[in-house]
Symmetry: D3
Subunit: 131 residues, 6 copies
C-alpha cells in the first residue's frame, strides 16, 4: 500500500484536476500515473513538481529522448523501482530501442564501477581537467 | 596522497605501457590521466577496465557524446569528484556546451528529487509501465 | 523470504526474550516487528542495536518526533523500503500528520536535487560557511 | 575550480539580479552564496530552484529549523560537502545548537546503519506498518 | 516483469550459449540465473561482464569467499535486492555460515553509520592516514 | 574546518579521557584520530560508537582483517574520504597488501556495476536464491 492514498481524478479538487488536465494534454494521454496521484495529497507540491518537470524535460539544448535516458540512468543508479519503470517507458515512447537501453545500462554500470575505483584509490584530479 | 602510487610511463612495465599507448592512440592524446596510472598498480585490472571502457564508450546505438553525458550524470549522482571533472572534460571535448551541461544537471537534479518522492511514498508501479 | 529466519518470542532464548520484553515495555506495545526478529539471529547484535536505538531515539536536545522524521528522510533517501514503512508508522504514532509527511518529503526531494547540482558543478564552500 | 564560472552580481543580467535581490531580501543578508552564483549560468534554472527552495523551506506544517535539519541529514547521508556546510550554517542561524547537531547526526548514523541491516536481511514489512 | 525479456538457453544464439556453457562449467551448475539471461539481450555485454566476473572473482590475493562477502556488503549498502540474494547464496555455497553473515552485516551497518558521522562533521584526514 | 571542534586529550573531560585511554590501549597506539575527537563533542555518542566498534570489529566468525576490508569496501562505495583513508590504514596494519587492496577494489567496482545492471533491468530473484 502507498503511504498516502492515491487521489483519483473523480475525487480531486479543482486545482488538482487542473494539473492532471495539463499533464494529459502535454503528454497526449488520457490517464494519470501513480506518481502524480500520490503527490496530489499536497496540491502545492503537485503543481511545483509538475511545473519543474515540464520545464526541465522540455526540448532545449538537449533533446527529450536524451533527457529521458539520463533520467533512467539516475534512477537505476539510485535503485528507484518506480522511476526505472516509468522513465524507461517514457524513453521508449520517445524512441529508445532495446539496443539503446542495453548500451545505456552498460554505461551506467561502468560509471558506477569506475566511480568506486576513484573513490577507493583517492588520486587527485589531473590539472588538465580542472584548470 | 593517493592510496597507491601513480605509475608513470617511464616507470611502467611493458604490459602497462602497451595499455597506456593504446589509451593515447585511441584518444588522440599524448598523456595519461591519473585514473589509469592508479589502476596500473594491478596490470590485469588496468587492462580489463580499459578494454571495458573502450567497448562501452564506443559509438553504437548511442553516440559517444550521449554516453559521456550519462557518465557525468551518474558521477554527479554518486558525488565522485574525480569522475565528474574527468567526464565533464571528455563530454566537452565531444561537443557538450555550457548550456547542455546546465540542462544535463537539471535533469540529474530532478531525477534525484523524484526518485526520493517515489521511495518515500511507496506507490505501486502502474500496470501500463510494467505489462 | 528473509535471508535468515525470523525468531519468534516462543522460540527465543532467554537473552533474546529479555530484549523483546524491553522493546515492548519501552514502546508500550505487545508485539515485536520483523527487524528485531531478524537481528535476533545474533543476540549480541540484537542487544547492541536495541541499546543504540533506545539511546539515540530518546528525548534529548531534539524531540522524538523530529528524530523519527529524520529517520524517514534518511530511509527515503537510501530507498530502504522496510525502514520507510516502519519509521513512517512510528512518526505517525508520535504525531506526524499527512501534511507533515508531504512537507518532509518535499524537503528530502529538494535536498537530494540540490546535493547533485552541487556535486555536478563543484563550486567551493563559501568562506562564511566554513570559517 | 568550479565546472562553470560563478556569476557575480556586478556581472549578472537583470533577471539574475532580480533573483539575487529576492534571495538577499528573503534571507536578510547582503551577499549571495556560491550555489546560486553557479546556477546563474542558466537563469531559468536559477529562477526555478530558488522558487522551489522558497516554497519548500517556508514555514508550514513543519517549522523551518526542522526543515534545515532534515536538509543536513540528507546532505550528510549523500556525502555532499557543500550542502553539509551551507545547511549546517543555515540551521545554526535558525537555532540549532551543537548538542542538537550531534543528536541529529546520531540519528542519521543509526538510520544509515539499520537501513543496511534491513537491506541485507530482506525480511518483509510487518502488516501493521503496511495496512 | 523485467524490462527486457529473459533469454532462455533454448532460444539463445550460439555466442550466448557459449557464455552460458562457460558459466555452468565454471560454477559446476546446470542452470543459468536471471542476471545472465537479462544481459543476453546484448551478447557483447554478456560476454564482457562474464569475463570481468570470472577474472575478478577468481582466487588471487583474496580468497573467493572473502570476495563474495565483499559483494554482499556492497549490495546491501546499495540496496540491490537481486544482488543481495544471489551473492548471499554464492557466499553460503563457498562456506559462509549464518554467524558469518550476521557479523558481515554488523560491519556493513557500522561502516554506513560512521561514514555519515564523518560526512556530517567534516573533520580532516589525520596526517598519519595520508602521509 | 570541521563543523564542531576537535576535542584534544588535554582538554577532554574525565569520561572522554576514559574512552580515549581505552581506544589507545585496545589499539596499542599513543594517539587518537580525528573521528573520535569530533565525536567527543557528545560524550554519550563517543562512548556508544566506540563500544559498538569494539564489539563489531573484534575477532569472531570473521577475522579482523576481513572486517577492515569490508569497511573499506563500504566506505569506497559511499565515497567517504575520511573512512577510506582511515580504514585502508587499519587494514594495512592488519596485513592487507597492495595486491589485496587492488583486488578488493576490483570486487567493489564490479559489485557496484552489476548492482545497477540488476536495478536497471528489474528481473526477478531466481527461486533457487530465495527458497
Amino acid at each position: 500500500m502507498p503511504l498516502l492514498p492515491l487521489i483519483e481524478y473523480a475525487d480531486a479538487s479543482p486545482d488538482v484536476r487542473a494539473v492532471y488536465d495539463d499533464i494529459m494534454r502535454t503528454r497526449g494521454t488520457d490517464w494519470i500515473n501513480n506518481f502524480w496521484k500520490a503527490l496530489a495529497n499536497d496540491p502545492a507540491t503537485l503543481q511545483r513538481i509538475w511545473a519543474d518537470a515540464k520545464q526541465v524535460m522540455a526540448p532545449g539544448a538537449l533533446d527529450p529522448l536524451v533527457k529521458e535516458m539520463v533520467y533512467v540512468a539516475v534512477s537505476a543508479t539510485n535503485g528507484c523501482e518506480y522511476c526505472t519503470y516509468s522513465h524507461t517507458a517514457a524513453a521508449r515512447k520517445k524512441g529508445m530501442s532495446d539496443a539503446m537501453l542495453m548500451e545505456l545500462l552498460a554505461v551506467v554500470g561502468l560509471a558506477n564501477e569506475t566511480n568506486r575505483l576513484a573513490n577507493g584509490l583517492r588520486f587527485p584530479v589531473d590539472a588538465a581537467f580542472n584548470p
